[in-house]
Symmetry: C2
Subunit: 159 residues, 2 copies
């Protein structure tokens, strides 16, 4: 295996590891747990779960993997804070959307050669990418992996 390949694989492994940790905790939660807040006055698990699902769904077009699967989540879980709108979906709907989106992303990442990781993401123009080649897919995936870790730290506070 080349150095490039090893470097790309490390990012894939990190993504999978953080996702597995989140999913392991997810399996222990009841529907009632999702209405609990991570700390007094803070977001409900339900909101955070919808937020994470919407953010990961947005990665599909951002990384040129495919069209969005669940754009209807953005209004309640990205555009507005928790408690503003009625919940647009059920916990079961979110669990299903979460699994579908992440399976799609992980399957794509598993096919990425080093060259693919270093392709520009779609929110940056050709011109800006020429000036700053660090605005690639890998940067997005590392950032989203950290984002998921950040909220996993909050999720696990609810028993």
């Amino acid at each position: 295996m080349t150095s490039e390949q090893l470097l790309g694989l490390a990012a894939l492994h990190s993504w999978k590891q953080v996702l597995a940790r989140f999913d392991k905790n997810l399996d222990t939660l009841s529907s009632d747990d999702f209405q609990k807040r991570v700390a007094p006055g803070r977001n409900r698990l339900f909101y955070l779960f919808g937020h994470l699902t919407a953010v990961h769904d947005r990665m599909l077009p951002l990384l040129a993997i495919g069209d969005r699967l669940h754009p209807q989540l953005d209004e309640a879980f990205i555009a507005h804070p928790d408690g503003t709108l009625d919940d647009p979906v059920s916990v079961a709907d979110l669990r299903s959307a979460w699994t579908t989106v992440n399976t799609r992303l992980t399957s794509a990442f598993e096919t990425f050669a080093p060259h693919d990781w270093l392709q520009k993401h779609t929110a940056v123009s050709d011109e800006d990418f020429a000036a700053d080649p660090s605005r690639h897919r890998l940067a997005v995936v590392l950032s989203r992996t950290n984002h998921l870790s950040f909220h996993t730290g909050q999720f696990i506070l609810v028993k």
Copy 2:
């Protein structure tokens, strides 16, 4: 810049970004805040901060960067849970240790060529590394970056 270099730089950028986010929040906290818990019945900020400092200090020998600077933190912040032992240091001591350790780590990472990222970490034997070349320094740094993100998500719950 080569593909290898771009891939290594992405990890460095991710590390710096997560550290900067944590440090930005740290600047807003008073000594009293450190005695607060991230959620009822959970760890105090003080404990988490000592834990993170000890874990990052351990990266110095683990990544063959240098000797440990603060091994005395392990007993209270790694070997025991919060509330078991008296706090062995002050918040000011921890702030200072945190900055020193991370400055040392980041300075080393900035000199890492792709080949350096892919060196084995010191907790794996030559034999095991030959069988599994993914047990390199980069894997440790990505894992610790996620670990810091995880606890940052908890830290920011305390205002």
